[in-house]
Symmetry: C2
Subunit: 117 residues, 2 copies
């Protein structure tokens, strides 16, 4: 990136008579203001975006927690029932072992159902 900024402090070097020069300076100064306002807005929006995302994140984490609990509850229910007096045939070959393994990252593939009959 090439050099920028003032190096010398000469007078209106880029221009002609002070008249046109000033017009150009004034216009540029306005452009600079616009640009800086825009820049600050963007920064602020980014900061706000962080807040939004943190909120969404919290909600999602709670949701995961809740779902995990529900799932755990159902699994316990199943297992309790199964270990006590299961009539496994009624579930038509559902492989509970596999179903209740740690499959947090698994989809709902029907690998859990093997027609063992």
């Amino acid at each position: 990136m090439p050099r920028r900024g003032r190096v010398k402090k000469e007078g209106p070097e880029s221009g002609e008579d002070s008249d046109e020069y000033r017009k150009r300076r004034d216009r540029n100064n306005l452009a600079v203001k616009r640009s800086r306002v825009k820049s600050k807005q963007k920064t602020q929006e980014t900061v706000n975006r962080v807040s939004e995302l943190r909120n969404e994140n919290t909600v999602l984490e709670e949701k995961v927690k809740t779902l995990t609990k529900e799932l755990g509850f159902l699994k316990e229910l199943f297992l309790a029932h199964a270990s006590n007096n299961v009539d496994a045939s009624k579930f038509e070959g559902v492989n509970f072992q596999k179903l209740f393994e740690d499959n947090s990252s698994a989809g709902t593939s029907n690998d859990n159902i093997n027609n063992t009959s």
Copy 2:
């Protein structure tokens, strides 16, 4: 917030001899640079934070999706079994109706178990 920035273009007004003045100016210019570097770093970190949060968010959303599917699968399993030929007594008073209502936002309160026997 009060006025800032140059208003006049006088010479070393805040100071004394050009010597001490320049020293002060130079030190301030360095401070300005440090301050602006820091500012840009902070902005960049905020931008990065947004990326991180978006990633976490995606992961969490997938997790919710997976868990929801698993839960749905178990519920269907339950219901299918229940509607076909349930021997509900084996579940010792579990209220399937309530259990399978939309309780995404509910905890794992044992309200689902009512000793109806």
